[in-house]
Symmetry: C2
């Protein structure tokens, strides 16, 4: 595996591979990698492309009171993990390499960025779209892989790619969960053992909502209320949001007919966790 | 010369040329071409690249009360002109080809877009940066050529390319003027012969400001005032702005020490003309 923190060196490596006709896959991450990230690598390997994995904790997507400085980091452990997993190139730039000048240019994906996590984290998705746009221009991948735990992020990147004609296939990869159902997240490391146990309520409540839907419930509000009640009654979690929205474009839903995204964000102590599930009225058709 | 209005066909043409190791030059235009545009083609030819010239009157960069519908168009004349000039590929997409869905993604270049034409045309440079970003992703050029008559646009694109790590060299090309000094513009066609004669005051007042600077005047306000007085006293032109700003970043100037951009926008009837000149205190050093 090659490693570099320099854009120019990365571009040279990629240019050589492209000149050999090799396709390029990009996996953008913030590091502190877990099996969810490794599932992205697995998917990329199946496409036969050269795999570039980036690790960059992007200051642009953190709000002033968010956890940029405390976000977990362990570059050497990550490097060992991805080398074993079969990544070809690890790109781990510094902030100075990514932002040598004060940024004045931003990419904004309207509408999709105003709801769910966007409503609670102003500027977050602008920071995400901008840094992903930069990484796309640096790596010029044919394929890019994003985990569906950040489902809204995946939709935003997919729409950005379409609206701006980026010649990139955006590949979603399903959420990877721990043995007990907790969605894997770098931030899980901050949970106390009690909080971790309580956080199981997130996936459990999503599963219960799906059972309700399959049993015939079609009201988005009823599903949201049931999830909120369950979280509030059975844990100390403080709800940021629980929402049912159209899976294709995050627009509002009253009566469920098309595939929906059921998404939630809940705080346990100072740790904010997200989870979601895409549900269909009739998954067998 | 190849011609296409389809993104997919254009991409195929370019992919073949790239696979032969050919560099690609992009010249984005809104058509109704004049010798100013042909100077861009000349510059591109000197770089030995395959020349792609796009003609697209971009609705996104026109305000609701601006001249999008009346903007002059003559595709067949343009096609003949650029074929003779040595353009390799003419790309003339429809609005539906460029914007098949309602756009929700925008590229904004802050600070630089808030002054001069940006102050008078809200949303204009957001529309420019967004469509140029799309064209860059479609064509993936190595070089892109922009005329310095739209000096602010050139600075904005150059900054966008830097901030977003686009692997493109942005090449500015000097203003081309008519025999009498009027800066060439597709909008000149709208001037009556009296207005056209009066509009000579624009280049004349810029030249006079430069003489003042060379004679030792260092006050930006004095230069601006002299230009405004000259335009107001000697024509019916209605001034949008006359401003002296740092040529590198458009920041404010009081005492002139570094190269400055002297830029103006003036309306003659319903036709809004712009002109500018970059001036240095001591151009011989």
């Amino acid at each position: 595996m090659k490693r570099t923190s320099h854009i120019s060196e990365l571009r040279e490596i990629i240019a050589i591979e492209k000149s050999r006709g090799r396709r390029i896959a990009l996996i953008p991450t913030m590091g502190y990698l877990h099996r969810g990230h490794l599932a992205l690598v697995e998917q990329a390997k199946q496409r036969g492309a050269l795999i570039v994995l980036s690790i960059f904790v992007n200051p642009l997507q953190f709000g002033p009171n968010e956890d940029y400085t405390s976000y977990p980091r362990d570059l050497e452990k990550d490097a060992h993990l991805v080398e074993t997993a079969g990544v070809d190139v690890l790109f781990h730039p510094t902030s100075e390499e990514m932002y040598p000048l004060p940024m004045v240019t931003y990419v904004e994906v309207g509408q999709l960025d105003a709801v769910l996590c966007g409503a609670n984290r102003p500027g977050h998705f602008r920071g995400v779209a901008t840094v992903v746009s930069k990484l796309f221009h640096i790596v010029q991948p044919d394929l890019a892989f994003f985990g569906q735990k950040d489902y809204q992020q995946y939709l935003i990147i997919r729409r950005m790619v379409g609206d701006l004609n980026l010649p990139i296939e955006v590949c979603p990869v399903p959420i990877v969960r721990d043995f007990d159902g907790l969605a894997l997240s770098s931030r899980n490391v901050f949970l106390t053992s009690e909080q971790r146990q309580e956080a199981l309520i997130l996936s459990q409540s999503l599963n219960e909502a799906e059972k309700l839907l399959r049993a015939g419930e079609r009201s988005a509000r009823v599903l949201e209320t049931r999830i909120k009640e369950k979280i509030t009654n059975e844990s100390q979690g403080v709800i940021d949001y629980v929402e049912v929205r159209e899976a294709q474009n995050l627009s509002e839903v009253t009566r469920i007919e098309n595939p929906v995204l059921v998404a939630l964000a809940v705080r346990f102590g100072s740790t904010r966790l997200i989870d979601n599930k895409v549900m269909e009225v009739n998954p067998l058709v």
